[in-house]
């Protein structure tokens, strides 16, 4: 099986804009809705998610091509990937704690949550199915993370204004109006699809 013929730059842009992991593929919506209430936390979580997805994409690519495929144990891939993700998150937590306590204070509470963020596992399953090569996997990983980061910051910014608005019907307050906002954002991002399209 060969890697798909996709340029690096189009792949990067597409993973941020047109195939945004959140707005087009619905991944990572849970933490997205709960965290986006607060702009600062969104910034921290976005950074952490981007780092974890990028690093996990690189490691999982290696695991997939040097361990899982040669041994023919594809049926175990879910468990192996989830262990890799949990391991990376744990290591990142320790490294950040050791070298940058201030960053650790900022990211600390979000790091363990990332293990069960569907965006991370989603990116890895996509790179397995689409058969990306190493460079493509890393670019796709960081691009998807950046797309998620962009989306959560935009939404957090919108929500700080939205929460002050009293015109929202009572039944739609909170999650309801947030979902509608995300829907409009998804429409805006789909508008880029004339520019680049990578599947």
């Amino acid at each position: 099986m060969n890697a798909p013929d996709v340029g690096i730059l189009p792949l990067f842009l597409a993973s941020i804009l047109t195939s945004n992991i959140l707005l087009a593929n619905f991944l990572g919506t849970c933490s997205f809705i709960s965290i986006s209430k607060d702009f600062k936390s969104s910034m921290g979580l976005g950074l952490a998610v981007t780092m974890v997805i990028g690093i996990c994409a690189a490691i999982c690519w290696a695991v997939l091509n040097f361990l899982i495929r040669p041994l023919g144990i594809e049926y175990l891939s879910f468990i192996i990937f989830i262990i890799v993700i949990a391991g990376v998150v744990q290591m990142l937590e320790m490294i950040i704690d050791r070298f940058s306590p201030s960053l650790y204070m900022a990211l600390g509470i979000f790091l363990p949550l990332i293990t069960v963020n569907c965006a991370v596992l989603g990116v890895i399953l996509f790179l397995q199915i689409r058969n990306y090569d190493f460079i493509q996997s890393v670019v796709f990983g960081f691009g998807s993370g950046a797309g998620w980061w962009l989306a959560i910051m935009l939404l957090a910014a919108i929500r700080t204004k939205l929460d002050k608005n009293n015109a929202v019907p009572a039944g739609l307050k909170g999650t309801g109006i947030t979902l509608i906002t995300i829907g409009f954002m998804a429409m805006a991002f789909i508008g880029f699809s004339g520019m680049i399209a990578v599947q």
Binding site: A24, F26, F78, L121, G122
Partner: protein, 216 residues
């Protein structure tokens, strides 16, 4: 109310995973533009939640607190792998269409949520029922959304043509934004019905305050 009935009432309505807990909308909205895919996905989630809660409830005294989360994830992935293998063997076409979303059941927050919130403190049998109730509570909402999306987006239901040739498909219904709009709409209706039921319960009339499920 017997414990089993209470569990079902909570899972299907009063503590519905989508309306109240706002969990698990991550991976599965993507498959709601097609009824048969949604049905398969819902069955997979229900199976994995029920069996996962059951197993974790059995193991709850054996798991050290520190590694609880990773054990939960591993048990859940075990059942998701079973779902994936069954699908690949018996429904290869649907398995191909669902792509990564079967594997993503692992990170569906409902599974972890129930394991943490219910199975960690209840008996295995009841945890199993709780898993089924939550899977179905999640299922009926998703199936109603998929019903609207497939009907308006393709003019079909389970792949069968419903409208005549004069029907123009609503392309937006097939695309991602409509899923967000429809979940918000469903949430809105559920909130209105709930508010009405609460108001009715406050009035002295001895009327049963069990709300009917919201119509999509």
């Amino acid at each position: 109310m017997s414990p089993a009935r209470k569990v079902f009432n909570e899972g299907l309505w009063s503590n519905n995973p989508i309306f109240v807990q706002v969990l698990g909308i991550c991976s599965t909205l993507a498959v709601t533009n097609n009824l048969s895919n949604t049905l398969v996905m819902v069955l997979g989630v229900t199976f994995a939640t029920a069996m996962g809660s059951f197993t974790l409830s059995l193991l709850k005294d054996l798991i050290p607190r520190k590694v609880r989360m990773i054990v939960q994830v591993l048990v859940i992935s075990f059942y998701v792998i079973i779902v994936d293998i069954l699908l690949k063997a018996y429904q290869p076409a649907i398995s191909k269409q669902l792509g990564p979303y079967v594997g993503l059941i692992i990170t569906n927050c409902i599974l972890m949520g129930r394991a943490e919130a219910f199975a960690a403190a209840n008996k295995p049998g009841l945890s199993f029922l709780d898993g089924i109730a939550n899977g179905l509570g999640y299922g009926w909402v998703l199936i109603s959304i998929a019903f609207v999306r497939e009907l308006l987006g393709f003019g079909t239901l389970f792949g069968l043509k419903i409208f005549g040739d004069g029907f123009t498909p609503w392309t937006i219904m097939v695309m991602a934004p409509s899923a967000f709009f429809l979940v918000a709409l469903a949430l809105w209706i559920a909130n209105i019905v709930k508010a009405k039921a609460e108001a009715a319960a406050k009035t002295p009339k001895p009327k049963a305050a069990v709300p009917a499920p919201a119509k999509q």
